[in-house]
Symmetry: C2
Subunit: 353 residues, 2 copies
């Protein structure tokens, strides 16, 4: 606390990122990174862009990247927005579309950054309880509100909402913006992008951090009606006109140009996930059906907090949330086959099986 | 205008970056980029960092970069903050230290992003008139206020404030944060960094975009008392925990490690500036004394708007602001010797000399 802090700064409860311990080499299954490297074409494009032109500002409109993405998804360029990770885009979404006086709705168990954004902009929100099986019910979002954020699949539960259920929410909220946060959609879910020309109230947010193996490059995307994209640009240009550097722009374009690599690595993650779910269930875990690159699992005979600690001692990092309703669960990112075999083997011995 | 925009979005007047025309190759003297490329060590460090680790999140604390900068300036690491360009840092400064009810002070002629930040956060501000010669007077800032932003040197005027004058402002505002925006300080000015251990109310903001030739990499820095740095981190971690990608972190560290290159290119820009000022004055221009990598100049016999247009037709881009008090001036970035010779030659023929 400092007398120089604004009231806002003093009252904020900032987001806490997952731990990145440097004390030893871990099998890192705690921050939902992709176990496979980015496409070689991405690496090559970045090396090419590491040249004397770095003395010049990047294109503030990110036109070439927006064009590439628009073509990839069959959208128009003015339906595409890009930012410094999907976190930054969400940080623009809240002031762009939500008014302080009206309650924003999102699930009670979800990405813990949502309430922080609301706090940052002095907004009110109401969390909507997911059911006992962590399902999000569309009808709970068909009530008066000032905007909606639906993570799909949800994190940390991995629960996936079908497109028809999303349509129910979009139909009931024609006057509010419905944001679908699809950070994990590429691992088996169906994207709401197909609804964009039909629903001017829909904004889909995605990222290169997970399915494109580029958490270290910081690139996120949003798709929606051109009026929504213009709204995001108004906020962006009141905050920072040059959010993406020349290297991130070059790498992101290359990522969308290597479809074969994307399909191959995504399929591998999905296959390893299915293998992992089966083995976790064999060990007695209750595992939520997942369409993400992580699973959410609890064991009836072992405390999640204990397992978390014991796994860390064995050099395996997973994520544990000491929060109501989910404090008996572990969130486990899907690694390589070898990493998941090591996890299953460690759990085997910890559970005395 | 869209019914989905928040009231904030609808009422904002976003910043407009300098034009980056793509219709032809220009001599680009309009956005204060450095005419020399970044250090070869920066390019090499980025190429090294373009590797498989891009699948992993960057260090959200940017510890290694903060350590490097702290050592460079003789500060402690907790007195250093880094962000996605100094624009992003300024966008964190406004909510971190300024309350909506109290008036922020900054000059009437200055970087046009300051009032946009205030608008974004619903803050009030009062612009303080610079004098006829564009000087900022310290005593004008010794009045009740809710925070102060002093650009030094100022843009677009290039006016420089001495350290003793800054001290007057710091002494008179012990309960407010005084932000000194030193984007252009390395071209001949003295940095207020030397005051940091003495004034807990001082925050110095700098950038790699100008003197380090890295406008395309998007890295800014802030230095101040650890409480101020903590305040900035609270806002950052309520907005986006990973603002700097792995490539920007690697390149920025290398930039601080190549002092010889920095000194050589900065000296060249300063020498070319002095040559340019002399030749502009010989052509009859009134040129403000500059300690930046640009000059602000007006000609008694020619309209600035006309010269801007005529230079563009000749393939030379400079910056013209159609704003009260400065609409008779051109802001001209310092290019290479060859570029400035081309400018002087073009002006020579335009002025019929």
């Amino acid at each position: 606390m400092s007398k120089y802090w604004s009231n806002l700064t003093a009252n904020l409860q900032p987001y806490i990122p997952g731990e990145q311990p440097k004390d030893q080499k871990y099998i890192k299954l705690n921050t939902n990174e992709n176990p496979y490297p980015p496409s070689p074409r991405v690496i090559e494009a970045i090396k090419q862009a590491a040249n004397d032109d770095l003395r010049l500002y990047p294109d503030p409109t990110c036109q070439q990247l927006c064009d590439t993405i628009a073509q990839y998804y069959g959208l128009r360029s003015n339906q595409v927005f890009v930012g410094n990770g999907s976190d930054e885009i969400l940080a623009f979404v809240f002031p762009a579309f939500f008014n302080p006086s009206q309650k924003i709705l999102f699930p009670d168990i979800t990405y813990s950054f949502y309430p922080v954004y609301a706090q940052l902009y002095g907004q009110t929100y109401e969390t909507v309880a997911v059911d006992e099986a962590f399902n999000i019910h569309a009808e709970h979002y068909c009530v008066p509100n000032g905007g909606i954020v639906i993570p799909n699949p949800n994190a940390p539960t991995a629960e996936y909402m079908t497109l028809p259920a999303l349509r129910t929410i979009l139909d009931a909220n024609r006057d509010q913006v419905v944001v679908v946060d699809e950070a994990y959609i590429d691992f088996g879910g169906q994207s709401a992008i197909t609804y964009i020309n039909e629903y001017p109230n829909l904004l889909v947010v995605q990222t290169l951090s997970k399915s494109r193996s580029l958490a270290g490059l910081r690139v996120g995307m949003a798709y929606g009606h051109e009026d929504l994209i213009e709204g995001l640009n108004r906020i962006k240009n009141s905050f920072n006109s040059y959010t993406l550097d020349r290297l991130a722009l070059a790498g992101a374009i290359a990522a969308f140009e290597d479809e074969a690599y994307f399909e191959e690595t995504t399929a591998k993650v999905i296959a390893t996930r299915e293998w992992s779910v089966n083995h976790l269930r064999e060990l007695g875990f209750h595992v939520i059906e997942s369409k993400a690159n992580f699973v959410f699992a609890s064991h009836p005979q072992a405390l999640a907090a204990d397992l978390f600690k014991q796994l860390k001692e064995k050099g395996i990092l997973v994520r544990y949330f000491n929060k109501p309703r989910i404090d008996q669960f572990l969130r486990i990112s899907i690694g390589t086959d070898e990493e998941m075999e090591a996890l299953i083997s460690a759990l085997h011995s910890l559970l005395g099986k």
